[in-house]
Amino acid sequence: MGLALLIVVLKTIGLRRNDPVYHQAARFWGKIFGINFVMGVVTGIPMEFQFGTNWSIFSRFAGGVIGQTLAMEGMFAFFLESAFLGLFLYGEKRLSPKAHWLSAVAVFVGSWLSGYFIIATDAFMQYPVGYSKAADGSLQLASFWDFVLNRWALWQYAHNMCGAAITGAFIMTAVGAFYLLSGQWTEHGRIFVKIGVIAGCVFSILQIFPTGDRQGQLVTDHQPVTLAAMEGLFQGQTAAPLVLMGQPNDQQGKIDNPLEVPGMLSVLTYRRWSAHVRGLDAFPKQDWPGNIPLLYYSYHIMVGLGTFFIAVMVVALLLLWLGKIFTARWMLWILMLSAPFPYIANTAGWMTAELGRQPWLVYGLMRTEDGYSKSVSAGNSMFTLLGFMGMYMVLGILGLFLIRREIENGPLALNLPGATEAQ
């Protein structure tokens, strides 16, 4: 999704300046986007099925509400995205440059809309609004706009999309840095680094403030027990410290080897040094998230990496501004090696959101243990889960292999059978 945005940027500049290098760059990233898109399609199909196959009791309970966003995702996002991706990838010769640009925009809009609908669905599970209870206990839609414009969804979406844009930006920068370091396709490498660093810097900052901060506020207000677990705050206290590092010890209910900033957690949550922050001890143990250490680490890894992204990208932007970045090999090395980190941060972020919601499936309304398909035996679930793990691993290797090949072949590659004749 981040890449879709950057491809639009490349196409726009290419169209404005009538510069073939930017069009080549867009085509190159289009190919990589295509590979990613296939991965997204094939790994996304099981997700939609899963609502019915593995979470049928949840679906029966909440389908009257979240069915809205899931169906809208199909009607508005998937059609747009799939129809125009075909045109973007295969229709450059048939379309005028403007129409081709428009198809890139359509793919971007489609993928970003899809993100919104799915986040709105997740937001309902985090912070249910706009529903009413029917006679049989299931949830029904009461207010469409309350549900679709859930406050939680808006901030979570902004936060998530910043994460996607950061990922795209870091990957583009890393490939550019690789080209510059190895002295090949340096003209394209410079474009990749330039656009990647500017986008990376903007979105890294937006990721923490305001989106991350606001997301934290929502957790503070609506999931205080999650906040306590994320921060490793076992005992509630006034002027609560912010734990930067340390290992949660849930047997003894404390943080081992803590490195803390006094009072900081109170400021971040309630904007006052002296504010009282409720700890885990303020809540019944049955409402605690199931795996506190994992939640704590996910959250801290996410925040740590987010801070690292800002640091790297601000320095890189400074070097870019001074005109020194393309020759500063040390910086290019850092940018190249940073490529995997956004993936780790995104995964950790989603783990924080989903582990933090436990033990609830729909916060406050349905527990996870009550929502899965009782009619499907554990043996069948295990069988298919193992299958998916194996399959996704193979797909991951295949995808990485093909993307590595594209990067190695470079932005001018004519390795595709059709492409040679088209030129």
Binding site: G52, G74, F79, G86, R94, Q140, L141, S375, S377
Partner: protein, 347 residues
């Protein structure tokens, strides 16, 4: 017409559109290995479906999403009950997607052969599975008072109270679906290509015709035999008689147009045949959406639909989304109209 009825027909139409559209690229996959012999011919088939197959498949996801939205209880019961076959469908959809998309990335015979077979085999199996799935719905499943069921892959291939996914009836319909979609795909390949490949596709379509006719007749008799209730709606609403007329008229048109090489007419007739069969099945089932072997537990549009407010709101955005989607499809198919030319873009 009540809201749940309206949504029943919306979902039925979406499923039909899915089968007509994705049906031709599934069918193209089913005949792929026998119709397309050389690398160039295989690339032509892939080129013919390449820009559109993913959009076609979205109709399945959109129909599934709409089903989930309008009849959440049905979605919950049927998807968990058909757990194992659906997982296989998911795997096959995944294999097929990478079969189509990754073949062109490396020009190497070993690589290409691997993805050729992956694409063809998964297409064939998907045709059979979709047919069997429809047959399971028509035949009915062992639902009980909880509103849930779980079907094993097979029991004893007979139609007892404990059914499996596969029995003689569902296998029969699965084979019929394979023949129908193979013919449908052949008409499409003949329409989009020409020369040897087009002629071979035309030949396959002609070969399929007697089988298709024969299986259509048998399946109608078999369906009446296992579920006489399917005739109720036809007996009460004479408009239903249009369905068999449409089905057999389409078959006649196919037989007339295909040998003459009027590919467009054959393809349209084949689409109408599929439409007739599916609308006919929906008409026979209505208002039941998933019959139980024991009819007191039938899932109907009334006991599975979402709340009225949700269904009303949905009409607004669904209509808007459908108009947009229709626009994209008309535009994309217009852009890629005409015979396939190699030498542009992928594949």
């Amino acid at each position: 017409m009540t809201l749940p009825s309206l949504w029943f027909w919306i979902v039925a139409v979406m499923v039909t559109v899915y089968v007509v559209l994705d049906g031709f690229d599934l069918g193209a996959g089913a005949i792929y290995l026998i119709a397309a012999k050389t690398n160039e011919e295989r690339r032509k088939v892939l080129r013919a479906i390449g820009p559109v197959w993913d959009g076609n498949e979205v109709w399945l996801l959109a129909a599934g999403g709409t089903l989930y939205f309008a009849f959440p209880q049905l979605y919950a019961s049927s998807f968990s009950g058909f757990y194992l076959p659906l997982m296989m469908v998911v795997w096959l959809l995944m294999f097929r997607a990478i079969g189509i998309e990754f073949r062109a990335h490396i020009e190497n015979l070993v690589w290409q052969e691997f993805f050729d077979v992956l694409f063809a085999v998964s297409s064939i199996l998907l045709c059979v599975f979709f047919g069997a799935a429809l047959a399971n719905v028509v035949r009915g499943v062992p639902l009980d008072a909880t509103g849930y069921f779980f079907e094993p892959l097979w029991t004893n291939f007979k139609l007892g109270p404990q059914t499996g996914i596969l029995d003689w009836y569902t296998v029969l319909i699965g084979v019929m679906a394979l023949v129908t979609l193979a013919a449908h795909g052949s008409h499409y390949v003949a329409l989009k290509t020409g020369e040897d490949l087009g002629r071979r596709a035309q030949g396959i379509a002609l070969l399929c015709w007697p089988l298709q006719f024969f299986l259509t007749c048998i399946s109608l008799v078999a369906t009446y035999f296992i579920r006489p209730e399917v005739m109720t709606n036809y007996a009460h609403h004479k408009v239903g008689l249009l369905v068999p007329i449409l089905v057999f008229a389409s078959l006649a048109v196919i037989l007339w147009a295909t040998p003459k090489g009027r590919e467009k007419v054959s393809f349209v007739a084949s689409s109408l045949y599929i439409t007739g069969m599916l609308v006919g099945a929906a008409f026979a089932l209505y208002p039941v959406v998933l019959p139980a072997r024991d009819h007191q537990y039938d899932l109907t549009i009334y006991n599975t639909s979402a709340g009225i407010h949700g269904l009303t709101v949905g009409l607004v955005w669904w209509a808007l989304g459908a108009v947009l989607a229709l626009g994209y499809f008309v535009f994309v198919y217009r852009m890629f109209r005409g015979k396939v030319q190699l030498g542009e873009g992928h594949y």
